[in-house]
Amino acid sequence: MSNRTFVLACLTPLLIFSLAFLALPLVRLFLASGEGDAGWAVYLDILRKPRYLNTLVLTVLVSLATTFAALAVSTTAGMFLLRNQFRGRGILLSVLTLPLAFPGVVIGFLIILLGGRQGLVNQLTPGHVVFAYSVVGLFLGYLYFSIPRVLLTVMAAAEKLDPALEEAARTMGASPFRVVIDVIIPGLMPSLIASGAIAFATAMGAFGTAFTLATDIDVIPMVIYTEFTLSANIAMAAALSIVLGLVTWVLLLIARSLSGATVAAGG
């Protein structure tokens, strides 16, 4: 077909370029991880040295917590906003999606304003509560960042739910709670998986928020930065990047196969 020839002719150079541009640096990154003093044993070091392993575990745990919290908040809020028309609904939606407009650094900054030493919570409570520089601050910052993305994806998916399915369940005697369990959650599942995966990947890679907040704690992207620029330990930085990338990529692949096709675009 002449259409196909036309498309092929147009795109082949572009694809070759894209591959070189995308795949080549990654190969270089992988090779760099083996070029240090320790050779390929650098990967063993990650598992052996508590500094690296603990940070890796912490990063994964905070990211998972963020993902599930964001899914829970966004699903309930999204369903509520979609099903109810009230004054101020538009404003509420705008506020909920405001964090989309702010970079990670500013989010970190906001968490410090909220929970830092001179923060709002510290000023208002008698117990002198400072959480900004701990895991809690990191979690809140990541959550702040994830909610709008997940929210918009869930709302788009919820709009496409067939209301007749819910009505059918109710005519058969299902309580509103059973309708949520049997109809709404299964209907949203592909979008929940897809946007959850993206939220997880974003949290795993968040740098700005962590850099602003994490004076007491470390996450993997910060360790990578430190090893690369301050310690000039390029091999370890590369190895950590590969591990981080692998963990995230495998999760994205699983999510994409679970939720089917390109739906993982959402978020």
């Binding site: 007749a164 009505e167 059918a168 005519t171 058969m172 299964p186 209907g187």
Partner: protein
């Protein structure tokens, strides 16, 4: 179960009156069709009976001797078949049919037995384990029916149950549905915009227009004794003869006809099967279209009245397009109906 609605109406918050105050009774085991064009309020009425819409204050809905007006849908024990079927895509055929029984918290063994029984009744045994998206349109329709009937509802409601099927399948399933509904021996109400469907399935048809039930009766009754131009046109496609009535005589552009009674101030209607093309007819017309329909031809005639008038021709040698023919209509085939106030 006997259903009785009194003074049931529905006004939307924006003031739209979807349903004017309506009275409706359905006897035990009766199959009633709500027939009307889209937007006539038939689906609203069905959804009010199901409990999916709240009627205006003052409305009353009685199931036998229970006033269910304020009972939420999940406690009304109605079975409903949705236009899109609304089968749960995340469950198998068996799980879909068993869902209502599970909600009643029946023991698993009883659910299994009841589902198997319904599967057999609807000839779905072969598909019990299938996923919903592995079913054809006709199979989905039967699963939706089986799912609605499995919890033994007091009343079965069907919203355009055949409209999602293509024409060929729709005709085949129409008879099947009529047989199944009688086998279930259940009080049923179904909504349709298709007069053939209403006539083929229902014991009684309630014709609706602009939020009101305009006439209700057996299919034969509606066909033979329509009370208004709307019913005559909607049930059996009667055409209005535009002309001047002078006592029992109707002057048309193509000739004059004798009426069965005094037609002054009335509109005259006729059906295509009563327009006879014959050499001794009093009307003169030109043939515009000739359509072969197997047992007969449908002939479009111009020059008799304003619009093209359809006639049925049963013979072998149909007239050709452009020919001039004579036609007649027997006085007893002419229907005299009150003039449409909107036009008069």
């Amino acid at each position: 179960m006997t259903l009785r609605l009194t003074n049931t109406a529905k006004t939307y918050p924006d003031g739209t009156r979807a349903l004017l105050p309506t009275e409706l009774s359905v006897d035990r085991g009766e199959i009633v069709s709500l027939l009307g064009p889209s937007g006539c309020g038939k689906t609203t009425l069905l959804r009010i009976i199901a409990g999916l819409e709240t009627p205006d204050a003052g409305s009353e809905i009685w199931f036998d001797s229970d006033n269910v007006t304020s009972l939420p849908v999940e406690r009304r024990k109605v079975g409903m078949v949705f236009q899109s079927y609304a089968l749960f895509p995340n469950m198998s055929v068996r799980a879909n049919i068993g869902y209502g029984l599970k909600m009643q918290k029946l023991p698993k063994s009883e659910i299994d037995a009841r589902v198997t029984e319904v599967l057999e009744m609807c000839q779905l045994q072969a598909f019990a384990g299938r996923a919903i998206d592995a079913l054809s349109g006709g199979q989905r329709q039967r699963v939706a029916l089986a799912r609605a009937i499995a919890p033994r509802p007091r009343l079965l409601l069907l919203d355009e149950p055949l409209s999602a099927l293509d024409a060929a399948l729709r005709e085949a399933l129409r008879d099947e549905l009529a047989v199944l509904l009688r086998e279930f021996d259940i009080t049923a109400i179904f909504v349709t915009h298709d007069q053939d469907e209403a006539m083929a399935i229902a014991d009684r048809v309630a014709v609706m227009s602009s939020g009101q039930v305009v006439q209700s009766g057996t299919p034969e009754d509606l066909y033979r004794n329509p009370k208004s131009a709307f019913v005559a046109g909607f049930v059996g496609n009667a055409m209005r003869l535009e002309g001047r009535c002078e006592a029992a005589r109707l002057e048309l552009a193509g000739g004059a006809l004798t009426l069965p009674g005094d037609g002054t101030g009335q509109d005259v209607f006729v059906r295509a099967e009563d327009v006879e093309i014959s050499a001794d007819g009093p009307l003169t017309a030109r043939v515009e279209t000739v359509t072969f329909l197997g047992t007969h031809y449908r002939i479009g005639l111009s020059g008799i009245t304003g619009d093209v008038l359809a006639a049925i021709y049963a013979g072998q040698n149909a007239p050709r397009v452009g020919e001039r023919v004579k036609a007649g209509i027997k006085p007893e085939a002419l229907m005299l109906l009150p003039q449409d106030p909107a036009r008069a």
